[in-house]
């Protein structure tokens, strides 16, 4: 055994007395982490409990049933599931190319002096309350769509089922466009973070091989960042699925399934927001809760699929530098 010199043993005792901040910090942090897990479990449980009436009544047919008729106490979720998925995917189709292009401009092309102003404006875009996008959608976007853009689409691409049928203005496509505008800031700023994380050494490797600016972006930047850009898309999809206010204002709120993008639709989030105040019967309320449960499950499934795809994308190509 070593003998501890008296002056050190005093210090040792002193340090023993000072251990409690470490211990309390450890448990405090653990409680914080557990709270988040608990919260998710509780939300899921509450949705399940409140929807149990509807679950027992309709079983699995709830998600396959086309009819939503509160007067007859018949509830089916399929049109809302369809509306949610289609409007979100439309939004992604519009927002990802725009967002990635904007991020590329900001990281690779724009002169330094104008980068920060543009970034500030994009961040402002994210802070606009969604009801304002809704108002703009109703009074500006939809009239223009109805009178100019949709007729143009119909006359040019009318042979596709996507662009057939009567034009009302409020529609799946309007919903998708408004969601796209709303998720654009987050897709852009996340893409920008991803592109900024590409090491300059990668760009220089391409430049040194005699690549042009575009070739550098293609072989060094985009291919390095594709995994992260995919993540930006998933993040956008997560937002798009749950987007409520503005979509409710422009999508038409009609529970129909139509191949045409000009037809109105209805999303899970919209129907909950629209109808919770009128849900007079227990079964009605319970069915709305079940819609919430379905939305939660869809979000979880989308994220799971995204994780799987990510894993396949990155198979083998683990970045060391």
């Amino acid at each position: 055994m070593h003998e501890i010199a008296p002056q050190y043993s005093a210090a040792l005792n002193y340090r023993k007395g000072r251990k409690w901040p470490d211990i309390s910090f450890k448990y405090l942090a653990m409680v914080g982490a557990l709270m988040i897990v608990l919260l998710i479990v509780l939300v899921g449980y509450e949705l399940y409990r409140s929807s149990s009436l509807s679950v027992h009544q309709f079983g699995f047919s709830f998600v396959k049933n086309l009819a939503w008729d509160p007067a007859a106490d018949i509830y089916g979720a399929l049109p809302f599931i369809y509306g949610t998925l289609v409007s979100s995917l439309l939004a992604l189709l519009i927002a990802i190319p725009l967002g990635v292009a904007a991020a590329l401009f900001l990281t690779e092309v724009a002169p330094l002096s104008i980068r920060q102003p543009i970034i500030t404006i994009i961040e402002l875009l994210a802070s606009v309350p969604s009801v304002i996008y809704g108002l703009w959608g109703i009074f500006v976007l939809i009239p223009w769509m109805r009178d100019s853009f949709y007729p143009f689409l119909k006359s040019t691409f009318g042979f596709l089922p996507l662009f057939k049928g009567p034009i009302y203005g409020v529609s799946m496509l309007s919903g998708g466009i408004v969601i796209a505008i709303m998720i654009l800031p987050i897709v852009t700023s996340f893409s920008r973070e991803v592109l900024r994380a590409v090491p300059d050494l990668q760009r220089e490797a391409a430049y040194a091989l005699g690549a042009t600016h575009w070739e550098v972006i293609r072989i060094a930047v985009l291919s390095y960042a594709k995994r992260g850009l995919f993540g930006a898309g998933v993040l956008g999809l997560g937002r798009a699925l749950g987007e409520t206010m503005a979509v409710t204002m422009v999508i038409g709120n009609s529970p129909v399934i139509s191949a045409s993008l000009f037809a109105p639709g209805y999303t899970l989030a919209s129907v909950i927001a629209n109808e919770f105040a009128e849900a007079t019967t227990d079964l009605y309320m319970s069915s709305l809760f079940e819609l919430g449960l379905v939305l939660l499950v869809i979000t979880l499934i989308v994220n799971a699929i995204a994780q799987l795809m990510l894993r396949q994308l990155t198979n083998g190509a683990s970045a060391k530098n």
Binding site: P111, L112, P199, L201, Q202, R203, E204, A205, A206, Y207, A208, L209, G210, A211, T212, E215, I219, A220, S223, Y224, K226, G316, A317, S318, A319, K320, N321
Partner: protein, 275 residues
């Protein structure tokens, strides 16, 4: 003459460009080179010739402008916003900084290897080596295959990787990755190879392999190597340039620089009294 067409032809034929007066024309003629990053002047009035088919080492303490100088030789400094240069640099007689000359064209004639190996992580070993040729529009499979083997043999990597050319480039060890980057640079048959402290992130054995490689490559390509390691400079180079505070202090035969330098600053640096 259209230089790009010439380059393509050279790559496709697979022969070294014909330089009839190679022994006379230096690889680089640098005249009154000054270079600024924004307001900071990084290089002051540098003028000297770098001989062809030799290894030229650039030494000097950190921040002396040696990396900046190297980057001016393939115009890579231009990718940094706010950089500006004056003076002229000729590559085998061709002015690199003419307005009509595209920087991408310069970089196809002047290859470069960096401090840290930087293979493209999404590409396989083979794709990494051939990416420069593909950028040049070369699609002939037989030719690509042949050039792949040539380049990997030149960079002394062939025997280690020939059985798994489809694996990702980043699956190799650090030293192998650096030799892969050398193979990538050699695949387009550059006239000059720039090396920016190529061994600073490598262990002694990997460093030794790169140094041996430099010795075999010097017969095929002119090499300019920036190094922090003075032993390395004295081991592998024919000529050495000593930079200090953005100026060329002394340029001479490597043996002279290390045994009998003219300038007291050079002597102080090579004898380890500062730096």
């Amino acid at each position: 003459m259209t230089s790009i067409d010439n380059l393509k032809k050279r790559i496709i034929i697979g022969t070294q460009v014909i330089k009839p007066t190679v022994s006379v024309i230096p690889a680089f003629e640098i005249r009154n080179l000054k270079l600024w990053y924004s307001q900071n002047q990084a290089l002051h009035d540098v003028s000297f010739d770098i001989a062809a088919n030799q290894v030229t080492a650039i030494i000097g303490p950190s921040g002396c402008g040696k990396s900046t100088f190297l980057r001016s030789l393939n115009r890579l400094h231009e990718t940094i916003a706010g950089s500006r240069m004056e003076g002229s640099i000729k590559l085998f007689g061709d002015d690199l900084y003419l307005k009509s000359i595209d920087a991408a064209y310069v970089r196809r004639r002047v290859g470069m290897v960096f401090q840290k190996s930087n293979p493209f992580p999404t590409m396989s070993i083979a794709e990494n080596v051939l990416v420069g040729l593909r950028l040049n529009g070369v699609n002939d499979q037989k030719f690509l295959k042949q050039r792949l083997e040539e380049s990997l043999r030149l960079s002394a990597l062939w025997d280690e990787v020939k059985d798994f050319l489809d694996r990702p480039g980043v699956s190799l060890s650090g030293g192998q990755q650096q030799r892969l980057c050398i193979a990538r640079a050699l695949a387009v048959q550059p006239e000059v190879l720039l090396m920016d402290e190529p061994c600073s992130a490598l262990d002694p054995i990997a460093t030794m392999k790169i140094e041996e490689l430099i010795q075999t490559l010097r017969t095929k390509v002119s090499i300019v190597i920036v190094t922090h390691n003075m032993q390395q400079a004295s081991r592998c180079s024919n000529k050495t340039a000593f930079f200090y505070l953005g100026r060329l202090i002394e340029y001479s035969e490597t043996r002279t620089i290390f045994t009998n330098p003219l300038n007291p600053q050079t002597e102080a640096y090579v004898s380890g009294r500062f730096g």
